[in-house]
């Protein structure tokens, strides 16, 4: 019991646990919710309104006979579509909800026929005797499929709210986080080895097999606990954003994602089953990792083997196609077992030496056996005398070589070593770079008609404003108008009965007119903008046409979402590296020696600040450039030398600053924000007795407000420094945005300056150092 308590109350494990929950919440929000905040495509409070409407309509149809409801819903959708084509006002949310409910009802209505369809398919295959010879896997597979789906005849599916359930089933990121937690848990158990405590434990009465058995229980309990927490968090998030889970006693097949499930279970049982799969997989992984790390003297080798195993498993699961001859590697796989959607939603029989085995049963038995074997192995090996871990020979040699090579006395280089190698910040750096690279890869973007026309115009007219361009736009407007008139006349002939009535032709002409009007409005907007730009040009500005789509993505409103994400990541990186910079000295009780040294105060403060700022600068610059390249590859930058007033958002600027100037100003504004954040985190770190404390407090003070703000707590906008780091625009003109930016900036500025002042006072002047350190020194 004490062993379990020691492990679960380990501060590092608690920190990992908190980080996993926060990360899960963030990714869930980002994957499932954040897109609905884009007001360009969705109404305000879209999710909430959609949810209410969905619940209302589900309430109406829930009591009806499914087939009758499906017919009514389908005709309702058709009538709404007609209303749209006739130009009538239709609530976009209502039609979306009806379309969704209608497809749900059609699925439910067709489900009763599922077994017959399976039978029909099977008969078709049987008829082709070349395909299904007796004694082959194909024949056994078809037989088993027919047999398995027989159960669906007795399943009564029902209509209910399915949105939350769908999100819960489809969200798989938690599975990776459980692996992270289990690995951390095993490492905490392993700490005993590192500290050479095994000598003591091994000699105790219950210090061998009993301790080994307790460790297997600990890994299982850890997996269960983490899964419960993640499931609870996911359920809360799904409930909060996607409404009710409905009646949990309805058949699991009521949800379209489980249409191929061949178990007679209800929704609650399906959740429990998914939970058990995940727990078992996590416990098996934890067991494998513990077996490796407790039996291989060099931990790096264990990491390498385990890492390779995980990567291979993941690649097999994601890269192997379901028709491949190697598909068994895809399905007999830890990630396949953890994926609830795959386990319960996708029907497969596995080909094991020519025999067809149901995936669910086979994998469950396999993993139970694996679990038993691994844990049995762990318990048996408990008798084996443990050993102290050591660095690998290669690492040892590199370390000695490094020591010989770096016989320098530069405090800066030693501090860098201490942080980057000693505190393993390089891992953070690599992760940061990988995440950025994946976030900023170029992608194909879908342009709506207006944007396409706009881009085409910009290819010709972008750059300085000329009479020729204005004239060209006038001609274009006339051309659009001419086409609109011609199409209108064509349409008129249908209306007047001159042409034979043709529904699709009329619809196509109507759509064409809408598009032509869109094109004309783009040309008109550009023409009107041309006038303004001409006037600005006459006033001495280097004004001209600049592509608003590109610049809005980089330094305008369109880029807010990606910029916020950049801001959160950048802040997380900066907070983590800076939080360790002083606390590592406090944790090692080195403060006394350092502060007594000649350069152990003011100069050290300068060095540490320089290092954190340099790393932050590096991260920010990499991010800024990567984002620039992504937007350049996707949209293309041009005319960056034009005055910023060429962009509507910056028209109120009086000074003649180029667009490049604005981009640089934003870049520096972000850097200043980072500098202020660094000051605050340094102050926290300087006053923290250890790394975990420093990381936790810094995270709470600096990252949490931003996290809560993006999570929906609006009041946090005033104190969230993420807003300052993720600034994409100088917010000229928009009062709301100015307030959103200026207030947190002022708060950050005041806090940053105060923190820096206190740091200087503490380290440069001869003032009391950390009280805790004094206690330690005593």
């Amino acid at each position: 019991m004490y062993e379990i308590k020691r492990i679960f109350f380990d501060r590092k494990l608690i920190a990992v646990f908190a980080a996993v929950l926060i990360c899960n919440c963030f990714v869930f929000y980002r994957e499932n919710v954040s897109e609905y905040n884009d007001l360009e495509y969705y109404q305000e409070n879209y999710l909430e309104n959609y949810g209410k409407e969905y619940e209302r309509i589900i309430g109406i149809y829930r009591e009806m006979d499914i087939e009758e409801g499906a017919d009514i819903a389908s005709s309702k959708v058709s009538s709404m579509m007609n209303d749209i084509s006739e130009g009538k006002e239709v609530d976009s949310i209502e039609i979306e909800v009806y379309a969704n409910v209608s497809s749900q009802l059609s699925y439910l209505a067709s489900y009763s026929n599922k077994y017959n369809m399976i039978l029909e398919n099977a008969e078709k295959i049987y008829r082709n005797k070349g395909l299904v010879r007796e004694g082959t896997f194909s024949k056994r597979n078809v037989d088993k499929t027919v047999e398995d789906f027989k159960i669906t005849e007795n399943i009564n599916v029902r209509l209910d709210s399915e949105r939350a359930m769908e999100k819960l089933i489809g969200y798989g990121f938690s599975d990776y986080l459980v692996i992270v937690f289990v690995v951390a848990l095993v490492l905490i158990i392993y700490k005993e080895r590192k500290r050479d405590l095994w000598n003591y434990v091994y000699t105790l009465k219950n210090g061998r097999r009993n301790v080994a058995a307790i460790r297997t229980v600990t890994i299982l309990l850890g997996s269960i606990f983490m899964e419960i927490c993640l499931f609870a968090e996911n359920i809360i998030m799904c409930r909060r954003f996607f409404g009710s889970f409905g009646d949990m006693t309805r058949a699991a097949q009521s949800n379209m994602m489980f249409n191929n499930l061949t178990l007679n279970i209800n929704m609650l049982e399906s959740i429990l089953l998914m939970f058990l799969f995940k727990v078992l997989a996590a416990a098996v992984m934890g067991g494998i990792f513990w077996l490796l790390i407790s039996n291989i003297k060099v931990p790096v080798i264990s990491f390498a083997i385990f890492g390779t195993f995980i990567v291979l498993q993941y690649m097999a699961y994601t890269e192997i196609e379901s028709v491949s001859s190697m598909k068994n590697f895809k399905y007999i796989n830890i990630f396949s077992f953890m994926d609830g959607e795959n386990m319960l939603g996708v029907y497969n029989n596995l080909n094991i030496f020519g025999y067809a085995f149901g995936k669910i049963v086979f994998l469950t038995i396999l993993f139970l056996v694996l679990y038993g074997v691994i844990n049995g192995g762990i318990i048996l090996m408990g008798e084996r005398k443990p050993f102290s871990s050591r660095s690998g020979r290669l690492l040892g040699k590199i370390n000695i070589f490094g020591t010989k090579l770096f016989t320098y006395t530069s405090v800066m280089l030693h501090e860098l070593w201490k942080l980057i190698i000693g505190q393993r910040v390089w891992i953070m750096g690599v992760l940061f770079f990988i995440v950025f690279a994946s976030l900023t890869k170029s992608e194909n973007v879908y342009f709506d008609y207006k944007s396409t026309v706009y881009n085409q115009y910009m290819e010709y007219i972008s750059g300085g404003i000329t009479e020729e361009k204005i004239q060209y736009l006038d001609e274009e407007i006339a051309l659009w108008q001419k086409q609109i008139d011609e199409t209108g006349r064509e349409l008129e002939k249908y209306y007047n009965g001159e042409y034979e009535y043709n529904d699709s032709e009329i619809l196509s002409l109507e759509k064409k007119i809408v598009k032509l009007n869109d094109g004309k409005s783009v040309a008109q907007e550009l023409r009107a903008e041309g006038e303004e730009l001409k006037q600005l040009s006459d006033n001495g500005y280097n004004a001209g046409y600049a592509n608003k789509i590109t610049y809005n993505m980089y330094i305008g409103n369109e880029g807010v979402n990606s910029s916020n994400l950049d801001g959160v990541l950048l802040m997380a990186f900066v907070v983590i590296i800076t939080a360790l910079i002083w606390s590592v000295d406090n944790q090692s009780n080195m403060t006394g020696i350092i502060r007594t040294s000649k350069w152990g105060r003011g100069r050290l403060l300068a060095v540490k600040t320089g290092i954190s700022f340099f790393l932050a600068f590096l991260a920010e610059t990499i991010l800024f450039i990567m984002r620039y390249l992504q937007i350049d590859n996707t949209y293309g930058f041009s005319n960056m030398d034009l005055s910023a007033v060429s962009l509507k958002a910056y028209r109120s600027i009086e000074a003649d600053i180029s667009i490049t100037g604005i981009i640089i100003a934003i870049y520096f504004l972000r850097l200043i924000s980072l500098w202020l954040i660094i000051c605050i985190v340094q102050y926290i770190s300087c006053n923290s007795k250890n790394n975990v404390y420093s990381l936790a407090i810094s995270g709470i003070v600096l990252i949490l407000p931003g996290y809560l703000y993006y999570g929906g707590i609006d009041a946090m906008k005033y104190i969230s420094p993420v807003k300052c780091v993720s600034v994409v625009s100088l917010w000229i003109g928009s009062r709301d945005e100015i307030i959103k930016f200026v207030i947190p900036m002022l708060v950050l500025f005041a806090a940053g300056c105060a923190a820096f002042g206190m740091l200087v006072k503490k380290n440069v002047k001869n003032i009391l150092p950390v009280r805790k350190n004094i206690r330690i020194l005593k």
Partner: protein
């Protein structure tokens, strides 16, 4: 070279950790004796300026150390009590790091580090990570780091803690050797260390200076206050309540109890010629309110 303390006081709330401390130190070894909480570490931290004093002055060669700032710190070598390290650093890298903090140039640092590693007997272990060092090895590395830069004032808090007898003697001799032209402050609970090498003993109790003298003088001052007798285990318990009891020795004729007292107890016999600093400690610092 002299280090002068004038009315040095340090208060933590109402508690006076150091109370009007006055002393003058010149080249030599100063052993600081005192029970836990007597103000030894506070005194050291005041000298290293790791804590802010409440009042008083510390003058180094007539100049206030606070106004000297880094010039003073350049003259100080500090060896705190055994503690954590940067476990990922090798001993060699750690000493170069400290040399960097002490503002020593690379070439001079290399010469000094090699020499000090040889003195503390860790030359062959210099490329091992500190995380794998034993307690004694860590102490020796701390000692080497304190002596880097040839400081004029060396402050050592429990320098021999965790060392085996042979290492302790070696370290003691080494401290004795380096103290020729330095001020060495030595705070320790191992009274024998002070007895062997200290030129002066400073006795602190509840932040107050109880006395300062050479070990010989101090031992001389208690030589007629030490008594012994052979007694049973039951009697020991009784005498422990009555007197300041020092060591209990196992002898052939039974257990010998040693006490310090101003007046000779009837049942005890005076001890002649066998006085140690432990007796001084007991007499001056134990139970005297």
């Amino acid at each position: 070279m002299e280090l002068v303390f004038e009315h040095l006081t340090k208060e933590y709330g109402n508690n006076k950790a150091l109370n009007d401390f006055n002393a003058c130190m010149k080249e030599g070894i100063y052993g600081i004796l005192g029970p836990n909480g007597s103000g030894k570490s506070t005194l050291m931290n005041c000298i290293t300026d790791n804590i802010k004093r409440t009042s008083g002055k510390i003058l180094f060669n007539g100049e206030e150390i606070l106004s000297m700032g880094s010039r003073f710190r350049q003259c100080v070598g500090f060896m705190p009590q055994q503690q954590g390290f940067y476990d990922n650093f090798t001993a060699y890298r750690f000493l170069f790091y400290i040399a960097g903090l002490k503002g020593i140039k690379r070439k001079a640092a290399k010469e000094q580090i090699d020499e000090l590693l040889e003195i503390v007997g860790l030359e062959s272990e210099k490329n091992r990570k500190l995380g794998g060092y034993s307690g004694g090895m860590r102490q020796r590395i701390l000692l080497a780091s304190a002596l880097l830069g040839n400081p004029s004032i060396v402050i050592m808090d429990e320098p021999t803690a965790g060392l085996d007898p042979e290492e302790r003697i070696r370290t003691r001799n080494f401290i004795s050797k380096i103290a020729q032209d330095r001020i060495v402050l030595l705070a320790t609970h191992v009274v024998s260390d002070i007895e062997c090498i200290a030129n002066q003993v400073i006795m602190l109790k509840k932040g107050k200076l109880i006395g300062q003298n050479t070990p010989y003088e101090l031992m001389d001052s208690v030589k007629d206050k030490i008594y012994e007798r052979v007694c049973s285990s039951g009697e020991i318990e009784m005498y422990q309540k009555k007197y300041k009891v020092g060591n209990i020795f196992q002898r052939q004729n039974g257990m010998v109890l040693r006490i310090v007292a101003d007046e000779k107890p009837e049942e005890f016999e005076p001890v002649t010629g066998d006085v140690s600093l432990e007796d001084v400690y007991l007499y001056y610092l134990k139970g005297r309110e």
